[in-house]
Amino acid sequence: MTLDSMAWLILVPPVLSFWLIVLFFNRWKRLSHGIAIGAAFLSFLLAQGIVVAGLRMGGERLGEEPIHSLLPWLPTGTTVLSLGVWIDPLTVALLFFVSITVLAIFVYSVGYMHGDPKYSRFFAFISLFAFGMFGLVVADDLLMLFIFWEIMGLCSYLLIGFWYHKPSAYRAAVKAFLTTRIGDVFMLLGIAYLYSQTGTLSYDVLFRDHAVLHQLATTPSVIGGLSVAALAGLLLFAGTVGKSAQFPLHVWLPDAMEGPTPVSAMIHAATMVSAGVYLVIRAFPLLSVGLESAVGTPPMLAMGLIGAFTAFFAATIAVAQNDIKRVLAYSTISQLGYMIAALGVGAYVAAAFHLVAHAFFKALLFLGSGSVIVGMHHHQDMMEMGGLRKKMPITFWTFVAGGFALSGFPIITAGFWSKDEILAQAFHAAQSGSWLGWYVYLLLALGALLTAFYTMRQISLTFLGEPRSEHAEHAHETPWTMTVPLIVLAFFALTFGFVGVPEDFPLLGKLFGGNFFHHFVGATLMEEEAPLPLNWVPLTISIVFALGGLFLGWWIYGRKPLKAGERDPLERALGKLHTVLKNKYYVDEFYNWAFIQPTIRLGAWVYKWIDRGVIDGILHTAAAAAMASGRLFGWVDRVVINGGVDSAARGIGRMGDEGRRGLQTGLVQDYIFILAVFVILFVLVYFVRGAGL
């Protein structure tokens, strides 16, 4: 079997399983999960086969001659629209983690969804989702990517609203669908723009042909000052902002936690949101073409600004959350921000590396939290937990592994290596005199500290101390279908990082083959940039920040665990420990005020308006402000951004209401008339332009 036919075959089992379950086996629960897992397993085998073959070929060869297979789809006269598969080192990396996480999550779902009345339907939907993700990964042009992108959007909608009898769930589903749609429209515009300029959407031409790239970079676009490449890149990036939940379109992701936990793990942590990052990584040659100043091209500038801001901003919010899944949701947003910001400073490989590593540990964390939720009989408030370490040992240890990876615990976790590479790259950019580099580095480093802190807070609140509620008293370990995926993922969360150890790292660099990942994935771009030499400054800083954050979290929450009834840790912090917190948080405080002052002011104002009681805390202690500001961002999030969107919608509604309602007559022939007018206009414009009149 050739590699390209294997790539095609990856797509078949999931979609087949979807149709089989939907059409025939809806009634048989065991059969449907059997089919779905079987399909996932087949895809897994095929994908790993490709990974092995790709590794054997080596990055350089695969990067130079990617496996490319075309299937003509719609021949129209002289042009042919094709579907195709495209396997290059980046695809291989993606296939590696997507197939593993998908399989793990499928198996996990058997335990998590046990007893749900819509069990079969759930497996059908996640099969369709897996189809979308695999298709997106192996797609060979932007059109096919967009098609699968939208298939995943649909699945996301279906799965977030899976328990549609809950009003919050279906509202979240609609919100997710609409919010991502904003990005998608821009993205489609970008794709259409590229097509109109080049007549093709194939990766092979758009991202690899230097002549085309150069031409795109030098042609001015319709918007003054931007080249075609820059404008198209910005539009594509808008799609990423929606899909990967970056500021200001991140609002849907926390709400999406209304879906079942495997969905949160799969869609909203491991794979779908990764698709957005994958898009920008894939399009990086286009985004970075014409790089002149140290600050980067307009799309890179946008990515750096938005990514770093999001990374920090979301981390602060995560500090103040009590829902076990919401903490993880904000953490996901924050980590995606890391990857985007890395691309903003040109760290192509580091972004891909963190993408893979993050997928492993975030899937693990979500599945772990799902395990906790099942053990707790579907209660998600961390204030009601505590002491689960003894009741759920496997969940605890794997969760700790994931948490440490997320925090970047030195040496033994994947998160450390990947995050460190991003930070080193950002630091490098900063050293070479780019203000964007400083901006990105500082925000990301602070974000790393916060990340470690909230992770430890979460672990402590959930697992340490004594049970704080009835449910926690009676918690139990979950069945093997749930724990085995946890263990598998924990293995990867800990060890995956060793494929990307910097070459000159003492001892380990030689031991693990000298930054294998960098060379492999870096070969995707035809001119590979050499990995940075090891710089001890950012490395030390990130180790200190990671460990410091973890220690801080332990100091506050783990050293003297909460007792039952002490509901709000923030109030507790404010009341008794505020002096300690004050000293510890002084630096964060400063950076908060220095970098996102306007947001905080706005937040403070909103906060005061909503809840007078807590504002005093800010006035009393700056340390508390750091904690509170996280919460403020939560409010900003909900009130300013959601409120803004809502009021805009309401405004449009009112506009329609108070206007003559002229267009909406409900009579089909009026619509046809409007259609005819526009068709005639377009033809006219096209013809006049074509004739050069």
Binding site: L71, P72, W73, L74, P75, L667, Q669, D670, F673, A676, V677, I680, V683, L684, F687
Partner: protein, 169 residues
């Protein structure tokens, strides 16, 4: 000099357009359907003139034998036997007229492409064109995928139309 073909063309063109005008203007819907069939016939004749007899037969088979039959039966089911007297047009006559005029003017404008004015085709029709078309429709490198999609569409239509039109208990 008027050639035989031009005369035949004029005849079929008259049939086509006359039938179309009949569709628009006929008071009784049944008559409109009959005019439509006349128009279809004209188009079939033009296909023969264009040396595409297969499509002429398809035109008869699908449009007249399928679409027109469906439409006539729908008319007979919905309007009683003869159909009561009622206005033919909606308020949108003016708009439609404007669109019509614009479209025709646009066509007159657009058609002035030199390559389109020549009266001789650029080549002969391949003698085994139909065989080639048949092959192309099932060849993976040509139209296999659209062809299969079309078959799925037809199946969906079969089921969907039955489902929609069915009397619900």
């Amino acid at each position: 000099m008027v050639t035989v073909q031009q005369v035949v063309f004029a005849l079929f063109a008259l049939m086509t357009v006359g039938g179309a005008v009949g569709v628009v203007a006929a008071r009784k819907l049944f008559h409109a359907a009959l005019w439509m069939i006349l128009s279809f016939f004209g188009v079939a004749g033009l296909y023969i003139l264009l040396e595409a007899p297969f499509f002429a037969a398809l035109q008869l088979f699908i449009y007249i034998g399928g679409v027109a039959v469906l439409i006539v039966m729908a008319i007979m089911v919905t309007r009683g036997i003869m159909g009561p007297k009622e206005p033919v047009f909606t308020y949108a006559v003016g708009a439609a007229g404007t669109a019509f005029a614009f479209l025709v003017m646009l066509a007159l404008f657009i058609v002035n492409v030199p390559a389109w004015m020549g009266s001789a085709p650029t080549g002969e029709v391949a003698p085994d064109g139909m065989r080639q078309l048949g092959r192309a429709l099932v060849m993976p490198s040509a139209f296999l995928l659209p062809f299969e999609v079309a078959s799925v569409l037809l199946l969906a239509v079969l089921v969907g139309a039955l489902f929609i039109a069915r009397e619900k208990e």
